[in-house]
């Protein structure tokens, strides 16, 4: 039955004006800044990078579409940019030589298990891209730790090529800082160029699209924990600066740990979360069986986020004051 109206006015609760931010806008800004490491990966790994990025993005979006359709939801949600980000982020964490079919599996798991089983955007507990990557790591441990050197680098023995962290952990070889910062090293697609990651992260920080506490907390705590170890035994433990620039730490700190959905909503919670990640990174990198632990650290701290949110409620203005 058609509704009848007494007036043309719109009735709603205050406030009656809104600012110009929106979810897709934030998402596409993140995508935009991600283009920096994406560019670097394409420069260093050429066709491999393009192949992995494309497959990852296509399968992420496809999976998202399938689930939206199956649950009879608004299909336009696929354009909110979140699946695109997951696709790019997943690709950036993969080794350049990975088989295409693995990439597709990873993208499917990332969206299906990492996001859609929880109900889609906003409800997931774990970072979808990392869920996808953790699954691949567990499913194909060998393929996931086989590295290809950048195209621009001349390497004699490509078979035993190692990432900066792996090289240090297993054979105590240090990669020069210059290479770490520019990105002329082995490793996952997106974790090579430190400088571009820092630039991208800084843009997001300035736009306030990521919580400044999280990268700050992670990088500082890694620096402090590793610094303490380094001071105790500089021969055995790596220089903390090396730890900051090598591996996926910058990518994780700026683009993964800061994922809005899976990070705490309270300021205090964010600090604990960030420091927890930093601590776990050092723990796993130094004492664990794997050279890299950023992914696991973030996933583990993701699981604590509900508890952190619950127990770190900020003090309300005037709370504790006497009436």
């Amino acid at each position: 039955m058609k509704k009848q109206y007494a007036s043309e006015f719109v009735l709603s609760s205050s406030p009656h004006i809104r600012n110009k931010e929106s979810v897709p806008k934030i998402m596409y800004w993140v995508v935009g800044t991600l283009l920096l490491p994406v560019g670097a990966s394409i420069y260093f790994f050429r066709m491999n990078a393009i192949r992995i990025l494309l497959i990852s993005i296509v399968f992420s979006i496809l999976t998202e579409l399938i689930f939206l359709a199956a649950r009879k939801k608004d299909l336009s949600a696929v354009f909110d940019g979140s699946a695109l980000i997951t696709g790019i982020l997943l690709a950036l964490t993969l080794p350049p030589g990975l088989k295409s079919s693995y990439v597709a599996i990873g993208a499917f798991v990332a969206i299906a298990l990492g996001k859609q089983v929880f109900g889609g955007l906003g409800y997931n507990i774990f970072n979808p891209a990392l869920v996808g990557r953790a699954f691949l790591q567990a499913a194909f441990p060998v393929a996931m730790t086989t590295w290809v050197p950048p195209v621009v680098q001349k390497v004699v023995d490509a078979k035993t090529f190692a990432t900066p962290l792996g090289g240090f952990k297993f054979s105590h070889i240090l990669t020069p800082y210059k290479n770490l910062i520019i990105g002329n090293t082995g490793g996952s697609l997106g974790e090579t160029s430190a400088i571009l990651l820092i630039i991208g992260g800084t843009i997001l920080l300035i736009k306030k699209y990521i919580d400044w506490r999280i990268p700050t907390g992670i990088l500082l705590s890694v620096f402090v924990f590793q610094g303490a170890l380094y001071i105790a035994n500089p021969q055995k433990f790596a220089n903390p600066l090396y730890f900051l620039f090598a591996g996926g730490l910058l990518l994780g700190a700026f683009f993964m740990a800061t994922d809005m959905v899976t990070s705490p909503i309270t300021p205090k919670g964010s600090w604990i979360y960030a420091i927890g990640i930093g601590f776990l990174v050092v723990l796993i990198r130094v004492f664990g069986g794997l050279p890299e632990g950023v992914m696991y650290s973030i996933l583990i701290m993701n699981s604590f986020v509900p508890l952190l949110n619950r127990y770190t409620r900020p003090k309300i203005l005037g709370e504790g004051g006497k009436k």
Partner: protein, 281 residues
């Protein structure tokens, strides 16, 4: 042989030891619970709807046993449950009359205008917070279905005309929807009561007429046509004060009501013995 013996002795000693400990603990730590509570609790429907006035079935069971609460308060279970409780408690079963929720509004989307284009949370209670509801009539059903969502028994459906329909078979009279409605349109009535005022508006007649085609406009015809005193007019609205007195003599009022605000709930159940009399009226 010795293995067998030792096994038996070991297990026997262990068993004895724990039996003693547990028996001692039992004596010290026992919590007395009247088994009747448990029994009644299992009989109750476990809808935990609160219709009985207690937060849950268990609390009602406790109240029956410990505080001597009346046994006929579970409207969900109805007579069978009351009978069973009576059996457990060893008392005479009390009568329960089935009550159902009914809607005191006929302000369909067609009959009652909305104020403007409401944008916001699509629940009645949220809508009531904006301009005290977007229905032009201050007393009218907002039609966002809070009652439908609140009903634990799936007895309420929002109809295309914008009003809720209550399935009286399924309705247990728990009263949750009555509490949920921000406009207080729903009310519990005994199921055999057949005459009702489908309006809550206490606005002056002029206003009611302006905002809703189906409102009670306090014309007083039905009250005048009903000599038995079943109806009264108060605050611009008719009330059925004594439904049992609403006899056939009063039916004329329903036929003459200009807006249909007073009507039978189930017109098909009405038996008119003297058609002539009616026609004349």
């Amino acid at each position: 042989m010795s293995t067998l013996l030792i096994s038996i002795i070991t297990l026997g000693v262990l068993a004895l030891l724990f039996a003693v400990i547990l028996a001692a603990a039992d004596a010290k730590l026992r919590v007395e619970v009247d088994p009747k509570i448990e029994e009644i609790d299992t009989i109750l429907p476990q809808a935990n709807c609160g219709a009985c006035g207690y937060p849950g079935c268990k609390n009602y069971a406790t109240a029956i046993v410990e505080k001597g609460e009346e046994i006929n308060k579970c409207s969900v279970g109805g007579q069978p449950v009351t009978d069973l409780i009576a059996k457990i408690m060893g008392v005479e079963s009390a009568a329960t009359t089935k009550v159902v929720a009914r809607v005191h509004c006929r302000g369909t989307e067609e009959a009652a205008k909305r104020k403007g284009y409401y944008e916001g949370i699509e629940t009645c209670r949220a809508a009531a917070l904006v301009s005290s509801g977007d229905k032009l009539c201050d007393w009218g059903c907002l039609g966002y279905g809070d009652c439908e969502r609140s009903c634990p028994f799936d007895a309420i459906t929002m109809m295309p005309d914008g009003l809720p329909f209550i399935d009286e078979e399924k309705c247990t009279g728990c009263g949750i929807c009555v509490e949920e409605c921000p406009k207080d349109i729903l009310e519990l009535h005994p199921i055999d009561e057949n005459v009702m005022i489908f309006c809550r508006s206490q606005d002056p007649p002029k206003q009611s007429r302006a905002v809703c085609k189906n409102a009670c406009i306090a014309c007083n015809i039905c009250v005048r046509k009903c000599p038995t005193g079943a109806l009264t007019m108060e605050n611009n609205l008719v009330y059925v004060v004594a439904p049992e007195k609403f006899t056939e003599e009063c039916y004329g009022g329903i036929d003459k009501c200009p807006t249909g605000a007073i009507n039978f709930v189930h017109p098909e159940k009405v038996v008119r013995t003297d058609k002539q009399e009616n026609d004349k009226a």
